[in-house]
Symmetry: D2
Subunit: 337 residues, 4 copies
Amino acid sequence: MKKLKFGIIGAGRIGKIHADNLIRHPQAEILAVSDLFAGPELEEWAASRGIAIVTKDSEEILNHPEIDAVFICSSTDTHVPLIKKAAEQGKHIFCEKPLSMDIRQTEEAIEAVSKAGVQLQVGFNRRFDHNFKRVREHVQNGAIGDTHLIKITSRDPGPPPEAYIKVSGGIFMDMMIHDFDMARFLSGSEVEEVYTQGSVLIDPVFGQYGDVDTAIVTLRFANGALGVIDCSRKAAYGYDQRVEVFGSKGSVTAANDFPNTAVLSTEDGIQSDKPLHFFLERYNAAYVDETQQFIDTLLLGKAVSVNGNDGWQAERIARAAKLSMQENRPVKLSELQ
Amino acid sequence: MKKLKFGIIGAGRIGKIHADNLIRHPQAEILAVSDLFAGPELEEWAASRGIAIVTKDSEEILNHPEIDAVFICSSTDTHVPLIKKAAEQGKHIFCEKPLSMDIRQTEEAIEAVSKAGVQLQVGFNRRFDHNFKRVREHVQNGAIGDTHLIKITSRDPGPPPEAYIKVSGGIFMDMMIHDFDMARFLSGSEVEEVYTQGSVLIDPVFGQYGDVDTAIVTLRFANGALGVIDCSRKAAYGYDQRVEVFGSKGSVTAANDFPNTAVLSTEDGIQSDKPLHFFLERYNAAYVDETQQFIDTLLLGKAVSVNGNDGWQAERIARAAKLSMQENRPVKLSELQ
Amino acid sequence: MKKLKFGIIGAGRIGKIHADNLIRHPQAEILAVSDLFAGPELEEWAASRGIAIVTKDSEEILNHPEIDAVFICSSTDTHVPLIKKAAEQGKHIFCEKPLSMDIRQTEEAIEAVSKAGVQLQVGFNRRFDHNFKRVREHVQNGAIGDTHLIKITSRDPGPPPEAYIKVSGGIFMDMMIHDFDMARFLSGSEVEEVYTQGSVLIDPVFGQYGDVDTAIVTLRFANGALGVIDCSRKAAYGYDQRVEVFGSKGSVTAANDFPNTAVLSTEDGIQSDKPLHFFLERYNAAYVDETQQFIDTLLLGKAVSVNGNDGWQAERIARAAKLSMQENRPVKLSELQ
Amino acid sequence: MKKLKFGIIGAGRIGKIHADNLIRHPQAEILAVSDLFAGPELEEWAASRGIAIVTKDSEEILNHPEIDAVFICSSTDTHVPLIKKAAEQGKHIFCEKPLSMDIRQTEEAIEAVSKAGVQLQVGFNRRFDHNFKRVREHVQNGAIGDTHLIKITSRDPGPPPEAYIKVSGGIFMDMMIHDFDMARFLSGSEVEEVYTQGSVLIDPVFGQYGDVDTAIVTLRFANGALGVIDCSRKAAYGYDQRVEVFGSKGSVTAANDFPNTAVLSTEDGIQSDKPLHFFLERYNAAYVDETQQFIDTLLLGKAVSVNGNDGWQAERIARAAKLSMQENRPVKLSELQ
């Protein structure tokens, strides 16, 4: 049984999640993990998982002759340089979103990957969510006819700390980039024009960094469909991730996931628990699936299902959405070229 | 346009509801209303509805030559004598449930009706409920295949006053008689055997009158299906009226009705309002429909859909259920004959 | 017991609905009904309801000395002249939406009403819907904190005939005017700016009249909240009328109403019936309630809860929404003045 | 970090599931696996999980000096002898349900365990289900007041093969034993009396072995509450596992789990997918949790939460339920002693 050898670059929370999911695949083996802050804690973690090499230097991974593929889970500003080097070394790449904050750089990364003939999968984990996948199946198999409207609700249970807000790239690149990808995933069409209404309603700190915490983005797709995404940095009741696709023959919706189905009825009314807390709970299985599929795809020598172009398209929508808000006008994606 | 002339015997809450529903039918007219406690209040009520005759004496209605049909909404002990007299006078009859507390008397009433060739509809209003009708349609059209299990939940928002408990005839005849009829309605089969577990869990006053306030009745139907009804005199969250029919090809359930679909999500969880309060709210439309259908049936000269036999069968099940509880053993309905 | 006397102007479907709901109020009496096409059919209808006068001439109603109030249910172009005349005659007015297609005319009507000191209630029946009322209660009592987002879904089961489309005033004035009022009703704030994306996706006939059949309108409210309405002339599964209000402490949603709660489970999946067919089914009780409340308000000598200003505001939003679509840019309502 | 050493006896489907869940615990290690049919396939499976010993002889595990605890996943008739031997060897025991088909034998096993001072956890995995745990929390924290009614629905997606039916011990011991345990788990009280209605409605093969495929069992608890379990060997729509507890202050229900939340609305109605297919899907996380908790309990030197007494009580209810059906009468559990 052939085994693929992996290296993990960046061992923060998401890097460790990918590592544990990799280990669950019988044909995957992790040879090395790198992190700028590697130390005894990471060494213990690696030892318990049978990972031989722990290093602060990602070059050690990129140059390791036996490593077939790398997971890039470091900070966004390192993504493009790491992708380029990994591609040069002929290694397949799984990279977290966004590929970069700069579309030119993203394009360079994609070009490098293309030239090297390696695979690049982007971490749009929500495409692997059981609910959204089922919605897309209904859309794809014609159950709702031609798509007319796409609606996405995207609300976090609470805002990140100020230190993160400062470097996040803003709500469009940091948070809604997932929703822009979801819009493409569900519509099967490209976004041509966007219009953004944004506000600072939750915490003035967002305004201090030129960011907003609440936004509605309207989309116009190449196939004529319209879309709308509403986004908030704070939903008091927890993580709110729903979609709806409406078409000529009907609609399909996906509601939130909940920790249980218990319903309490008393003289005060009918009550149930809040949705699963946040992305780690909601997308737990999706993280597993995106990793398993990445491995399976490489083993089969096929092309990944979520690639650099998907990352690039979502980043362009994010950039147009921000520009629309800044200039309070609809922005065509063609303007960006 | 032909008009049917009606008399209302017993002008309590339910009598007035039937009267108002009668008036809504363009081919129905109420000529008279009788009540033991008729007085100025009832006269004003009757005047506002254009009802000419208000009397304490039901004979005035029974003997009125122009009246085609009567609604018997007086106390249960008066049902059988009134049915007999109305039948003798050739009047069609709508009678509230139960027909009587005594199966022999019920049989006499049915015989009188049969001999006179008039129609007798029994007030099993739940057969006209939008949810239960839809469940039965699914059963009847074969959507769930052969029926294996019937489950009925029947819980009131609160117990009646002691004065009522005393003369109610007990939980089986007063409250569950509706459920016994529902079991027959949904199964399309007759009950052959019952077993009852009953308890006094809500208020000791029930025990003082040899009654219970909580019961589970298991049913065995002639077609082999099994059934179970759970019943409580008090659900803190309100009126709880649900059914489920399970068969070889699937199941069909009916949930409660609610005053609205609003769902509130906060950090405390997900909340919605309690079900519609009680039978007047839940079965409001069903009361209208049973009256309208009674009139329509008479106008067409057809046989009513819920007749004396339906009343008789439900009463026999009630009697068997009570006997089962008293002797703590399964009771066959054939024992009652 | 004091009785208010009413006249109905325009005896189409909605006029007859209002008439029947009026009759149900013990303190309301209809003296006359007028319709351009009055004939034997209307006379029979009026006779069965005890309405003495049937006429083709609305003047007969407007000049009738005993009539306290009129229902204006004729075509939109007649609303303003009729309101003016009724006001001059000191009659209270219930008028269907929109008051007019022209904001200046609407303003003249409001002025006439104000000068005459009569009441003018506008037929925004959805404010009386059990679901939307409950949503608003939650918003008003602070359950969701400060309002951040308002989302309204508004989809008809099918498009009107071409003859109607031609004179409808377009999707914004004809259909979404209800949603614009709902946005104001739920937010408790005024709309300051709108942006519209519209498309012809259902039937090219809409495009022939400069209209669209699918639209997304983004709203910005004076209190900082954002809103979005998605609208379609045809939902294959029926009338789709849902709202959501999201705020600092949570959200409240209202789902559709259904004809029953029956759920069928088979090897093919879980199935239930479509929502209530269209506005007559969904808003049946709301029509009753708006009429009853109009009567009660007049009897108490109070000001109506949905007045001319509400009509005017909704019409302005509709006009701005249309302009936004035509010029593909956000439009401030202040531009309209 | 202390590690517990485990042996697995019986490497069928459930044995392998427990093994994989054990491996996920950082303080658990499997030293050996035994199976009557051990061969190359099992050896490969064991090798991939780092399990050193593969044997046909369970004695090799029971006598292994380093093994701290065993999982007994072999056929039911071997449970008691294996428990006795394991206890004699001072090993802790996790045993699948039922402990045996014979209450005397079960008692002997429990006595052996008690004498040896080892822990015995019984595989009532449903106690670890997220839904049922939440229901019990509501019951335990008083949210529904005193318990009046307990309702359990237990339906498999399809019957087992005849070969299994023959040796299954019948529906009460094989299938409903889980429900009898659930009844005790939810009520926090002991069952005192049972009454069973059973039928062969799905497949005559059940009747050939003196078994039924459909049953309703009514329960009376020591604390006065009543209960009812309905059970079917075949639900066309899949695995149906729901509970409801009703009390003086309200009720709490748990619905099924579904593979996704997608809802499709078309002109045919509203549709969603069937529940999770069967116990492996529905109770996947529960299997993980029961194993993890078993390990944690042993590490802490505490008593397990589901012990031999729980197995014994459920078996007694199963025996009483069968006797009740055979004799068509209510059976008191005290009769069995």
